[in-house]
Structure formats: structure tokens, C-alpha cells
Symmetry: C2
Subunit: 229 residues, 2 copies
């Protein structure tokens, strides 16, 4: 109660299974007394491309554009584009970040990757030697909630898609842990398009149920052993 | 000689190190008698977002938009948007796909992820049970060539960033192998921004040198052991 949650949501269709998962999270967390903000990336037509347009005004080095350097400098002088400043404000205020999306090609959809690329700039999310446990977004939690096309059997160590944890490494360790954000167990709905209506309802109920005790969960141990043991 | 190469390039600045790597590849491969095509994603202002705009004309199911289903159906009736058809044509003609980019958050930049999301649709790159070794892009080679921010020591099994091969799994196995494309050893330039000018020149020379005998290389064994052993 009183906790702030930002849900970054990347699906085009409100009637989709991802749309249902979003709706459940908003309802359940609001009922708990949390303050919930949703960044609905497709509806916002969020820009995924990292370009010169992200810097308002002059460039630090107009001779050779370096996105990392330019956004870092722009952040320090308050010169990032308005859409980025708004997303950073939402992140800053949040106790918990939930990412809700369909897995596309073993990874998040480009529109969500663009959110990571553009919002989590140096100076804001990390800085020189302020990375991993020393990252600038310490004190926050994150949770990756997604659907897959392939089944749970395929996403096993012996399955053709490999252990599902392999695809979590770049997202959870490479992004969230890098910024100092703790990571809760991912919430994975396997192949909702290929199961019965009853099974889909069970999946939705399980998400709702998990959210009821979410704040009592301990973060995972974000070490290579968790992912590759 | 006579081979066709498509280079999908994702950097904003021609004067960057990635820009130099691109230039070297175009020059060296052209010199060998290859026909080289470049998709320069930022210059093309390539759209990374997977939306309804990718389908020309009517939708298969306008009641609930499903990107995977709609692009599959659109592909079959020749109803994908022009920019996708053009990229698919380039892929179809290529013997080798080279992806040249800076690693962003343990992954490819969003604009390049968007190329994967939108170009490699069902029906074109894979189909029902035509995946992995049976994928529809069989007979082609691919090569991921990228720069990193972190050093080679950091990207080792004991380093904080973990083995660099962990980040290759979603790209090489999850995308290329899934579509039936064989994968050559990646070409990785570690932290070019943090090394001496001399070292940078050595890195460029090494890329040029490798390209001279590229067509004699054997693809990697794209199994979990290669990535996680």
C-alpha cells in the first residue's frame, strides 16, 4: 500500500493475452493501494530509434555523433527530449518496474528495447563505476512478465529453445542489474496461443494470485549460476 | 567472387568505429568480386515498431490485432508494406548476411531488433515446423560483427559481464539458426572507445584480414555447448 509501480507495456492489442495480463496487474495493484502508472508504448507511439533528436539544442561534439556521450552530456544539462524526461520521471518515482510483453525472437520487442536504449542513459541509470550493485537505480525492484510462442518443454535445458533463463540474462543482468535494480522472479506464460481457454484462464488467475503477495517476495540471486547452472 | 552480401548496419555516425568497420567490409568484399548491398538503418530511418501499418489493405482479423498472424497472412497474399518487401528481397538474394552494430544493453540496438522483428516474418523466414535446420533461409550464412563498451576481461566467464557468448545465444541461435541460417564466428571489437589509436588500427586491420579468407570459414556448431560450456 502506497507503493508506486510503473508498468512498461508493449503489445499492440488491448484484447490480447498480454492486454489481459496488464489489466489484471493494474486492477490488483490498485486494489492493494498501490499507485500504478502505465507506459503503453504502442499507444504512445514511443520512438525506439536512438538519434540526434533525443538531444535538445547543441551537441557536445557535432563533428562525430556519439549517442552515449551526447545523451550523457544532455542529461547533465537538462537537455534530453521531453519524452525521455517523462519516462525517466516515471522510473525515478517507481518502487517497482514491471515489463509486460510478448517474447519476440528470444528477446523483447524492438519498441521496448528502444525504451531501454533511450531512457536508461548514463548519468540517470548508471555512471562511471556506478554500475551493478552500485547502479543509480538502487532501491527499486523489477519484474519481467512475458508470453512465449514456444512451449515450456521447448524452453528447457534439453529443449530446442534452450533454458528460458538464457534469454533472461541480457534483460535482467545486462540491463536491470547493471542499473542497480533488483530482479524478482520472471513471470512467464508459455504459448498462450496454443493452449485451451481453460488453461489460459488458469494462467491469468495465477498472475492475479502472485501479485497478492508480490511485496513479500525476495529478489533472485542475479549471478551467472542462477542463469547457467 | 560473385557472392552476394547484405550488410545490415546500425550506427548513426559514418565517422564512428562501426562506420569504419562497415567501410572496410564494403571495400574488401567488393574487391573480391562480391556484390555488396548495405541496409543503413538510421539513414533509411528504418521503422522498428511492429504495427498494423506493416499490412497493406484488409486485416485477417480486424477484431483483435495479432502481428504474427497478420504478417503471415499478408506475406502469403503479397500484402506486406513496401519497406519490408524490399528488405526481404535483399535477404532472399544474399549468400551472406553481416550485421554491423554497437552492442547496446547486451543486445542489438532497437532499430536492428526492429529489422529482425519486421523482416523475418512467418512464411518468409520460417513456417510451421520449418524451423532451425529446416528454416526457410537455409543455404545462407550470417555473421554478427559488433563493438562493445566493456572490455574482453569483463566479458569473460569470470568477468562481471559474463561470457560474451551468453549474449550471442538470442541473436545467433534464437534468430539466425531458427531461420535455418548458418552462423560464422562473431567478430567482436572490445571497447574501441577505451583503447589507443594504434590498437584501434590493429582492430580494423584484423577485420580486413579476416574478410580475405571469410569464404573458407566453417560455420560454428550452433549448439548449447558452444554458448554455455
Amino acid at each position: 500500500p502506497g507503493k508506486k509501480v510503473l508498468i512498461v507495456y508493449a503489445h499492440q492489442e488491448p484484447k490480447s493475452f498480454n492486454g489481459s495480463l496488464l489489466k489484471i496487474a493494474v486492477e490488483e495493484l490498485t486494489k492493494q493501494g498501490c499507485s500504478v502508472t502505465v507506459s503503453d508504448l504502442y499507444t504512445m507511439q514511443f520512438e525506439p530509434r536512438a538519434t540526434r533528436n533525443d538531444i535538445v539544442g547543441h551537441l557536445h561534439n557535432p563533428e562525430a555523433f556519439n549517442y552515449g556521450v551526447e545523451t550523457w552530456e544532455a542529461y547533465k544539462r537538462g537537455g534530453l527530449s521531453k519524452d525521455l524526461v517523462e519516462e525517466q520521471k516515471k522510473v525515478q518515482e517507481a518502487d517497482l518496474l514491471i515489463f509486460q510483453f510478448p517474447l519476440f525472437w528470444f528477446n523483447m520487442p524492438a519498441i521496448l528495447k528502444g525504451w531501454m536504449d533511450r531512457v536508461l542513459v548514463q548519468g540517470f541509470a548508471y555512471d562511471l563505476s556506478k554500475v551493478y550493485d552500485g547502479g543509480l537505480l538502487q532501491g527499486k525492484l523489477s519484474l519481467f512478465s512475458f508470453t512465449t510462442g514456444a512451449s515450456q518443454e521447448m524452453y528447457s535445458k534439453e529443449g530446442i529453445s534452450g533454458d528460458i533463463r538464457y534469454v533472461l540474462w541480457p534483460m535482467q543482468h545486462g540491463i536491470m542489474h547493471f542499473c542497480g535494480v533488483k530482479v524478482l522472479e520472471p513471470h512467464i506464460c508459455y504459448a498462450p496461443e496454443n493452449v485451451s481457454e481453460e488453461k489460459r484462464k488458469e494462467m491469468l488467475a495465477a498472475w492475479s494470485q502472485r501479485l497478492k503477495t508480490l511485496w513479500k517476495e525476495e529478489p533472485i540471486d542475479c549471478s551467472p549460476e542462477w542463469y547457467f547452472k
